[in-house]
Each structure stands twice: as C-alpha cells, then as structure tokens.
Symmetry: C2
Subunit: 314 residues, 2 copies
C-alpha cells in the first residue's frame, strides 16, 4: 500500500504553499492563519462515478476540474474568496481503463491545479483511500468573506430584480464538466454594487431561483422570454423535442449566478455590463410566495421548479 | 429524489446550532465567526464500506461514531478544540439490510451526535448523495488552536521522552469502531505541561511513532517492555499466535496519543497522572535516525515500523 506515500511525494512536488498555512501537508491536520475580520466560509461537495461523471467516458482531468469547480461555484454564490481546499479520494484499487490507481489520482489533481492556481487556492491536505468500488471525490473548500460580508440566499426582497450571468441549459453536452465558477464575477459585483441575495445554478435555473426566493421569504417571477438560452440547450432540443427554454429552466449544472438586486442598482449593472460575460435581467422577486413565470403574453403562470434535487449545503 | 430534503428536515430538527455559525444549513456554504487569535485547524477523513467498516456486520450508529471519531482524534493530536463538522455521504441507493437509504443516513447521524455533543461540536453542513455502490462517509472537521498554539508532529527533540495514553493492540475486536478520541486529554496536557510534539495512533504504534520522529528530524527508541498492551491484543494473540506485543506495535486504530515531552516535564506528567486514563513512558527520541527497540536485555535493535499505510493528512 504505497499509493498514499507516492501520491504525497507527487503532491509535495506539485502543490503550491501559502503564507496562510502555518501547518500544511504531513501533519495530522492543517492549520490556517486568518485575517481577523473575515468570516470563514466552508463548502463541501462529494462527487461519484456514475452520477456526477462517467469515468469510462471522460478525461479524468475534467473530473478533477469539475470536483473542485462545483465547490468554487458555491463560494462564488457566497461572494467569498477561495483560500484552501482539502481533497479526499476513494480510488478504485485497480485504477481505470489504461491508468493505474496512482496515475488516476495524479490526473485528477492535474485537472484541479490550473483551477486552483487561477484563484490562488492552495490544496492543503485530504485523505487518499483505495477500495473495490468506483471513484468518489470529496472536496471541502474554505474561503473568506470580503469586507462586504457573505452574500446569502436569504437577503432578497420583494421588488428586487433577478439578474443572471451567462446562459442556461444543455450542460450535459459538456459544460457540466467544464465548470466555470463565477468567483471573480461575484467578487466584483459584490464589491461595486449593492446585492441583496445570490445563488449558483447547480440544480436548475427554476429550482435554484425558487430556493433563493423561499430562503428570502418571498416568491419569484421569471420572465420566460428573457431567459438567456445556451447554444447547447438548442442543440439538445433538436435531439429530444423538449424546448430549449425548458432545458434552460431545468437542466442545471450551468454554474451561473442568480442575484437579487434592488431595482435601481440592477438597472445600473445592466447598463454598465461590468463583467466579461453578459448579465441579464430575468425576472423579479414578488410578494406572492412560490415560483411564477411571465409568459409571452405577459400573463403570470405558475411554474413548476424543475431540476436535480440533490446538491446544496444539506 | 427526496432523500436530501427529508434528511435535511431531520437534521434541522436534531442538530444543534452555534453562535459561531453566522450562516448554517440551507445556504450554498456555511459561514463561521472566529476568535481572532486562534488558528483554524482542518482535518478530513473519508471512510469506505469494506475497508474501514463492514456495514453488513455492524450497527450503522457505530459507523457514524467512528467516522466522526477518527477526525476528532486528528484534532486531539493537534491539541485543538473541535468547532464545526461537515458530513458528506454517498449512500447505497437501496439502503442496507433492513434500512432504507434515508433510515441509514439517520442512523449514521445518530451515531455522530452524542460524540459531537460531548465536544460542543456543531454539524453545520455537508452533501448527501445516493448511488449504486457501497457507503462512503467523508467528514471534515474544523477546530481552533488554543493560546498554546497547535501541537505538531515536528517539534520533537532528541532526549524527549515518549509518552503514550491508554493501551495498544487488538482494536479490530471492536475498539476500532468505538473510537475514543483523546481531545480533552490533549487539551489538558497541552495546557498544563510543556509538550514538544504529538501524534494520534491511527495506523500503528510503531509506524506513527516513526512518523513523529521523522517529522521531528530525529529517531525514536521504543522500550519494548514498557508498551501498555490492551486486553484485546492478548485475546487476539491467543487466536493467531502473533505476540500481543506485536499486535500492540502494529495493529493501529487505537486512537491513543503519542507525545514527545522534555524529560523533566515527562517525569512530572508520569508522577501526576493527570488524566482519567493511565499515561506511560514508552521510550525516547534519539539522535540516530530510524526506529529502534530496546529489547528485554536492554539492547538496541532496529524495529520495522508496522501498521496500516493509509491514513493521515496526505
């Protein structure tokens, strides 16, 4: 059983360190120094072969990228800065097609490292295991709030406009693996504008919007003609006859941000377009609890929150 | 797929909250307030069915207890206070003998909660998944250092005496599940005495002692006649003809503490016996690198570090 030792050697040669880590790899636990005024933000996601990815069909680097990316997307939803990650693996003992167990582990890390480096995130520890079953990756990321505090799901108010970054739908065609967490975008918006609430779309635009509204004690109305639809949603629609809008509403794993913003401030964001990707108005928070659609005729219709009922800090 | 929602309801009714949590369950991440002067200590362990426990044969509450206990034992090794835990599960979709998937999850938590309550540890989030494979539990615990700072593996010096809490060997007969993390013991000793280094015995007395010595840049000599041998090691020895001392040296999962302590201070601890369980001198750190045994004739003999090469903050 030398995989852990071999992997540790590889990690020590390939991982960055950080002045925030006073004790890193090789002890019983890691110790972080932290800025006194900032809250510590913690998120964790566990991904399994067969559910979150198909190891037989995809590059393990993409699997590593996704596993870290979904955690960073949660930090983006809190408008918090990533600091340090802990990676635990349950590796299939015999590896996977063409890769030994150790090679698989290294490929997973090779998928994580560029994403970690982009945010100056340090991988500071974890737990490496082998077993006679499929791959499991469990990552915990610690971040810190900025001087503006955390952006929560619960701060929305009736009348807030709902803004969305990017486009939605069809992520199963590839984007669900190539997660682009909106960390920088969230930090910029939280710094320069007044935001009331935020969530990342992991399970579905309609379901996650309904969650933000419910956490804020209000309802949400989505303008169905205003949803930014991804090209992938259109391509998928041609295959399965479901409308591209329904794909956009329910597919999930877009990892875009939904923000609740006071109206004047929202207008300013829409006018400024301060991000490198488009940000669009997709609806508003309303007094009437529940999820509502504004259809093409301008009528309010009840909307069934659709998406994958699985993720989140449960 | 309502298991996550059902489990969340159960958790919200059964989990404690903490003034240190400014955002808890139900958002994208948890947010902690922290005392400014204390370092944040992070440890994570992933346990799998078939390796760390056999779900077919044991009470799932014991599995939950063990999964949290091994993390707390890592915090004990750092002489740090537990604060908050994050629990991620990959649950077999069809549950296990006699228990549905949801019932299994609740039994796991029922095993964790008494241990969490004992240390005023709050379970503040996690990620619940189902899949078509055996149970995986991945827990990350955040703690805080005391005003004495963290106790590391690397502070030992040649001439330090090696002290051990409790007894060793035969944990497979039951103790490996009934983990008793030495958190209170470590905090008391770190507060009242000068300790140089510490480690918890997860993989084996000899292997973990060798790790402490190597991290400190010295060697270790274990007095083979002084090892406190557990009753279970004797019982196991009767079954398999391996000596009870060899069981004590190599079995692992005792979750006792090995401490490197300056000689005068060590003598004071041995005289005071300040814990509710015995603490014994089992050897010393020496200049000569490597692991050595002092045999019954008083001769120094090379000792092969034995144990399970698997755990630790890799």
């Amino acid at each position: 059983m030398t995989i852990e030792r071999d992997l540790q050697q590889w990690l020590q040669a390939n991982l960055s360190t950080s002045p925030q880590l006073s004790v890193g790899f090789g002890d019983d636990a890691a110790v972080l120094r932290q800025a006194a005024d900032n809250g510590t933000v913690v998120t964790t996601d566990l991904l399994t072969d067969g559910v979150d990815f198909l190891l037989d069909e995809v590059d393990p680097r993409l699997v590593g990228h996704k596993a870290l990316g979904v955690n960073l997307s949660d930090l983006a939803a809190m408008a918090s800065r990533p600091v340090v990650a802990f990676v635990s693996l349950a590796l299939p003992r015999d590896g996977t097609a063409g890769l030994s167990c150790l090679e698989l582990a290294i490929e997973l890390y090779r998928g994580m490292l560029p994403l970690a480096d982009r945010y100056e995130l340090v991988i500071a520890g974890g737990d490496t295991n082998t077993w006679d079953a499929p791959l499991v990756i469990s990552i915990t990321v610690l971040g810190e709030t900025t001087e503006h505090g955390p952006l929560t799901r619960s701060g929305g108010q009736s009348g807030d406009l709902l803004l969305a970054t990017g486009t939605f739908g069809g992520s199963i065609l590839g984007r669900h693996l190539r997660v682009e967490p909106r960390v920088s975008e969230a930090l910029l918006l939280h710094d320069q504008y007044e935001l009331h609430a935020g969530i990342d779309v992991s399970d579905g635009l309609s379901l996650d919007t309904a969650r933000l509204a419910a956490a804020s004690g209000v309802g949400a109305q989505i303008d169905l003609s205003a949803i930014p639809i991804a090209d992938a949603a259109c391509r998928l629609s041609e295959q399965d006859k479901k409308s591209s809008r329904d794909h956009a509403l329910g597919d999930g794993e877009d990892f875009e941000l939904i923000l609740a913003v006071p109206p004047a401030e929202a207008e300013r964001i829409l006018r400024d377009q301060p991000l490198e990707l488009p940000i669009a108005g997709i609806g508003e928070l309303v007094d009437m609890p529940g999820l509502w659609g504004l259809d093409l005729a301008g009528q309010r219709v009840p909307l069934d929150p659709q998406g994958y009922q699985h993720r989140g800090n449960a």
